[in-house]
């Protein structure tokens, strides 16, 4: 499905700020795999996401999706088959446009945009059905401006906008981090549900280690631009929090460092 080969990227090369953010990353995602990604601050998780989405071009390496090399495709072209939800709830929606208009824009992600009405009666009906699955009552506010929604509501809408067109690859970069615990749980549950129902190939960055253990079929840990730990299947199911911290210490010889890490 997604194949990353020998990806390296260095920021500010040749200056004192030089930073090898990704160091020869190799990663292969199978169709329908749900990977959770953890790692300390500055490990390169967001950079990896940006390389996959086309927001960043790596110095070397290949990004292959469905057997096709996409390294030269700009971000907007890659987003035909990649869906993203950002950390900032404000980033995924257009505030001065209505809920139905936002959904219409998301609906056009997989197709060429044409000079035909974006919000039709038929689409409205479909949008309403999808919104009902969120259980937030948004289906009754189709013509409300998204700017009036709360952060949690906006993030739920972003998640729906990204997933209801079933992207080949779903990228989630700490998409619950900016929300209070109850809202974060809501979004986490919605994420799990939609990924399971549509069998989306997913890469999800999280600072919540327990979440990383509970969700998904595979877990990778990153540090200093490298993937230092990769478990899947039964082995992952058996993994505990202590194992994980212990594993990090064993590989790196230091304690896991992150300002935002949530252990429980």
């Amino acid at each position: 499905m997604l194949n990353l080969k020998n990806i390296s990227i260095t920021f500010n090369e040749g200056t004192p700020d030089e930073k090898n953010a990704l160091d020869d990353i190799n990663l292969k995602l199978e169709q329908g795999e749900f990977i959770t990604v953890i790692g300390s601050n500055g490990a390169g998780k967001s950079t990896l996401m940006n390389v996959i989405s086309g927001n960043l071009i790596p110095d070397v390496g290949d990004v292959i999706i469905d057997g096709k090399q996409v390294i030269h495709l700009p971000e907007y072209k890659r987003s035909r088959f990649i869906g993203r939800v950002f950390q900032d709830p404000m980033a995924g929606t257009a505030p001065s446009m209505t809920i139905e208009e936002n959904l219409a824009m998301a609906f056009s992600r997989t197709k060429k945009r044409k000079l035909r009405s974006g919000v039709t009666k038929k689409r409205k009906e479909m949008f309403r059905e999808h919104l009902e699955t969120l259980n937030l009552g948004l289906e009754n506010r189709l013509t409300a401006n998204v700017g009036f929604l709360s952060g949690g509501e906006r993030q739920a809408l972003s998640l729906l906008m990204t997933t209801f067109t079933e992207p080949n690859i779903l990228l989630l970069d700490e998409h619950t981090a900016a929300l209070d615990p109850s809202r974060a749980e809501l979004i986490t549950n919605l994420t799990e549900e939609v990924v399971r129902k549509s069998g989306l190939t997913t890469l999800m960055v999280t600072h919540n280690m327990q979440q990383a253990l509970d969700l998904g079929s595979r877990l990778i840990m990153m540090d200093k631009g490298q993937i230092i730990f990769d478990v899947r299947g039964e082995e992952k199911q058996k993994l505990t929090l202590e194992d994980l911290l212990h594993e990090f210490q064993r590989i790196r010889g230091t304690k896991f460092k992150s300002d935002r890490v949530v252990l429980g």
């Binding site: 035909r80 995924g92 257009a94 001065s96 824009m105 992600r109 009405s117 974006g118």
Partner: protein, 333 residues
Amino acid sequence: MSGMLISMFGAVESGIIYAIMALGVYLTFRVLDFPDLTVDGSFVTGAAVVGISIVNGIPPIVATVLALIAGFVAGCFTGLLHTKGKVNALLSGILMMTALYSINLRIMEQPTLSMLNEPTVFNQLESIEAIGGIDSFFNGLLSMLGAEQLPATWVIVLAMIVVTLLIKLLTDFYLKTEVGLALRAIGDNKKMIRSLSANTDSLTIVGVGLSNGLVALSGGLVAQLGGFADVNMGIGMIVIGLASVIIGEALFGTKTIRRATLAVIGGAIIYRIIVTLALEVEFLDTGDMKLITALIVIVALVTPKILQVQKEKKRRIQKRKQLDRQIRGQNSA
């Protein structure tokens, strides 16, 4: 009084034509969030293209369409400069506006081009026999109301209302299409719409192009109405466009796209009326117009905010009084 009526009529007439320019400014400033200063140049480009075409015997209607195309191309260059050349939006517009000054001079081959005694879309319209009936009908109505001096013709106003409303409806429709939604999202959340597979660069280029197409169309029509094109006729046009947009928004609101575009047209007409009224004031002359325009924009920008703050204050005071009364009521009980 009667002279006033005639000048008001003129204000509405030109207001409707300038409204097309204001719709263009609305597209960049409001929809794309792109402060485009190309307008001062592209307005003249429209006038110049119309002028030189008509003088060379091209049918006025064709000349008018050519003006629109020329403006579109000019706008596309500004968009290109900004998106592909990574030049700051304001600077892209200023550069294009400066370049257009010379280009406009080249098009006209002289600073002022007269179209007197040449056919224009307007005098062609007036010359259609059947239309004479419209004038006598409306003027008859006016003289019944006691007016002494009567507008020379109603045809231009009526035709321009139809054309401007048509452009408004097309704009409304366009901004609701799949492409139009993406265009609006560029001004609202660029990062998002890019992650939803929209090519923001080419959309911006087309958007700025369309905007300047409308501006040039307006310039071409103004030239035909006045009977001349002048290389300096675009100076300050961007501020006039902005004034129209801002006055319209302040008076008529922006709840929906349909409402907002109507507000822009209303704003353009009201701007012309204000200017006409200002010129009636004895100690003001045409040279003061720029100052007056700037003042209008400032008032239209600042007043709604002051009113809003005052309304909030009033509401809070009322709430407090209400609460006081309740407490007093409870105490006395």
